[in-house]
Amino acid sequence: MNVIEIRDLQKCYGKAQALKGLDLTVKKGEVLGLIGPNGAGKTTTVRILLGLLKKSSGTAKVFGKDAWDEAVEIHKRLSYVPDDVRLWPKLTGGEVIDFLASLRGGINEERRARYIERFEFDPSKRCQSYSKGNRQKLALIAALSADVDLIVFDEPTGGLDPLMSKVFQQCVAELKDEGKTVLMSSHILADVEKLCDRVAIISHGRIVETGTLDEMRHMKRNVVTVRTVRPLEKLHELEGVHNVQKNGEEVSFQADNEQIDAIMRFLTDHGIRSIVSAPPTLEDLFMRHYEEGYKKEEVTRHETE
């Protein structure tokens, strides 16, 4: 069963079109990472799913219900951690957690205490004195303490230090074990790589690529760094070799998986001294789409000029 189902979703702000036909599904029990550059439409997508923004056209369903018309029903089963956590300056952290939890149908004291301890959070301070990281912790504690089926995180770890990011990762892993569904938009690729079953790359209001990391890597290139006895002069002419860069004796390039056999033979002929071959990181995949995105943008800018 699909917990989230988005088809041909469009959203316009006046003349600007933020989403241009976005398709995305998230299955039950799945952790899906939504990544993309600034302004790609991540937050807009999330806010439409939460019924905070109204779609211009298309379908956006959560638990099989329309995100706008049945927002209240949907909200009974989800919690949300926004990108920019804003609070009531005069209230204490503890008061805010209790209020949000009560709105979600009551507080589970045991969970609340556990998460406060894990995130090393002081709930007795007034919100105006919390740092960005602490505000984020508060929203995470409030969301995690609730007993829900779906949790939506928008850039959840932006303000957290590495130690707290790790706590967060453990929490998400536990949610996964409990069979809960998670949608997480992020810039922090390490989080997505570690936590997500599937990744959807969003750019210019569309999903440009989606799949498990393995699937995506399968189609992509390995990054090879090699030192050879004889110089690799004709390497760039080989099929399936991209981005050759020389760095002293060291040469690094990207290799298509389909051609890897021929490429390795070529390298062996030149006498390999050392070689490192790594699967692409999410960052590599991501950067490709980034660059394409910017190139496209440039082209359209030239066209309009």
């Binding site: 019924g51 926004p82 609070l87 009531w88 008061e95 009560s102 004195s129």
Partner: protein, 534 residues
């Protein structure tokens, strides 16, 4: 105070004028036009009519709170007469303008974290505060010239007009300095504005007392304030007498107060962290009490500060004004010519004051209801509405507090005022009825604010303040003073609520309440259907 701490002040001043120029222009143009129109309109009175009006107002202690002292020789001169009637309004305008300028350039910048950017980009620690004070000083001066121009165009003498304008600018800069101090002491922009408002409120009350306890000239031909006037900058403005004695030495008071209070503000800059106030955060509760976990409970928690900050002064003002108007008219019963007129005026006076209070309370309605917009644009509404709380239930809490709170405020005033005035408990009903009548326009305005929040959230702040100011100026109290055409006056809901409850048309009052409800309903429908707007 090291000089390097003022680095880049000039840059920030330029920046302020670039960002805020429209706002400043509107203030100056507004003050100029009001002066121009007020002088022109009041210039239509004959000398004899002016004299009558002065006598009528001077004779009533309650009315003296809202007018300024006037010399015996000046009672039939337009130059003195126009300030007799408008001093109060101009004082308020200059004060609001100054509070707004300083708070926007200091505390609001800080709340938006822009101040941190500026502070770390090479600007000195005092640059923000000193630039705000200099900008406020400059705009006040320009507004003074605007005022002078409004007078001179009406044929008034140049140097007197200039001194008159400057005397309000003097009040403005003192208020600006107090706002700067408030901005340093308080934890955020809204409490800074609150502190400033309370400060100005104290200035006003002292000044009102100075006028009430003042010395009335023979035959009520004007009056002088008592010594209390020296304790409030509003009083200093009135003591300048620009067209009579022209007490220029009083400007030393304004400048001294401006410098001293500003120094106080600079002192606290060193004592606190950027983004915080001096008044430290206390440790708070780790758990929310049960009542606060419900939507309405939270709304009350968020709104109670503003409500209490209004209801307490309003209750005290009711008592004070009630006491001041209690033996109204007694002094003049034997007056050969005005005796009867006084008796009638004396009875009407408390109801007029209730109406003026209602006009002021419409600002409370705005503050309380636009809290919703604040929650939406810079608060946690996004988080709140992603819980199963339906949008309209969230909204209903704020609407309830804003609408009911406004009505309660007006009734509180009518009630405490009545407590002092009435001779038998049976009379209290009449005063409460008067309150209910005057709360009608406020209820309608509250409805309008809700509708605007639903329909044009981003513009709601500016549009509501313009509407309220217009309604007040065109309403039952100021409309006739400004001699506005009926068509304009009828646009204000206040015009349709007669002062005396027995004169008020029940149909009209009920219509005001119904329209308020309808507008509110429009607001609800619009908010249910629209995007959240951040």
């Amino acid at each position: 105070m090291r000089r390097s701490e003022f680095r880049k002040t000039l840059l920030l001043i330029k920046h302020a004028f670039r960002i805020e120029k429209i706002r400043y222009l509107v203030w100056v143009a507004g003050i100029f036009s009001l002066m121009l129109v007020a002088t022109h309109v009041n210039g239509q009175f004959t000398a004899e009519e002016m004299k009558e009006i002065v006598i009528l107002s001077t004779g009533e202690p309650g009315m003296r709170m809202l007018v300024s002292p006037i010399t015996e020789e000046g009672v039939s001169e337009i130059s003195r007469f126009v300030f007799f009637r408008f001093s109060f309004i101009f004082s308020i305008l200059f004060a609001i303008m100054s509070v707004q300028i300083v708070t926007r350039l200091t505390r609001l910048e800080e709340d938006a974290s822009r101040a941190e950017l500026v502070a770390t980009s090479g600007a000195g620690r005092y640059a923000r505060l000193s630039s705000a004070l200099i900008v406020a000083f400059t705009v006040n001066l320009v507004a003074a010239f605007g005022m002078m121009l409004g007078l001179v165009i009406n044929g008034l003498e140049f140097s007197g007009s200039l001194v008159a304008g400057l005397s309000y600018a003097g009040l403005g800069i003192v208020v600006a300095a107090f706002s700067a101090l408030a901005a340093e002491l308080s934890g955020n922009a809204s409490s800074a504005t609150g502190f400033s408002a309370i400060t100005f409120g104290a200035f006003f009350v002292l000044n009102a007392l100075a006028n009430v306890t003042g010395n009335v000239h023979e035959d009520a031909l004007g009056f002088e304030s008592s010594f209390l006037a020296w304790f409030t900058p509003m009083g200093w403005t009135q003591e300048v007498y620009p067209f009579d004695d022209r007490n220029l030495w009083i400007f030393a008071f304004f400048l001294a107060a401006f410098v001293l209070v500003s120094l106080g503000a600079f002192y606290f800059v060193d004592k606190r962290d950027v983004g915080r106030g001096v008044l430290a955060d206390r440790q708070g509760r780790e758990h929310a009490p049960v009542w606060m976990r419900r939507p309405l409970g939270l709304v009350w928690r968020l709104q109670r500060g503003a409500f209490l900050a209004w209801v307490i002064p309003v209750a005290f003002l009711g008592i004070a004004f009630g006491a001041a108007t209690e033996d109204l008219g007694v002094n003049f019963e034997d007056h050969e010519y005005f005796g009867e007129a006084f008796a009638e005026a004396a009875r009407e006076m408390p109801f007029i004051l209730t109406a003026v209070t209602a006009m002021v309370v419409s600002f409370y309605a705005r503050v309380a209801l636009l809290k919703m917009r604040k929650e939406e644009a810079s608060g946690p509404l996004e988080n709140v509405l992603s819980t199963p709380l339906p949008r309209l239930r969230w909204m209903a809490g704020h609407v309830l507090v804003g609408m009911a709170g406004s009505v309660i405020l007006v009734l509180t005033y009518a009630f405490t005022q009545a407590l002092v005035i009435i001779e038998s408990p049976a009379d209290i009903g009449e005063h409460l009825l008067g309150g209910l009548v005057q709360a009608g326009p406020v209820f309608l305005i509250a409805g309008l604010i809700i509708a605007l929040f639903g329909l044009v959230p981003r513009r709601a702040g500016a549009v509501t303040i313009a509407l309220i100011l217009f309604f007040i100026l065109a309403g039952s109290f100021f409309g006739p003073i400004l001699d506005l055409p009926n068509a304009v006056k009828n646009l204000s809901p206040f015009t349709h609520a007669d002062f005396l409850p027995e004169n008020a048309s029940i149909a009209k009052i009920i219509t005001l309440y119904i329209l308020g409800g309808l507008f509110a309903a429009i607001g609800f429908l619009a908010f249910k259907r629209r995007n959240l707007s951040f």
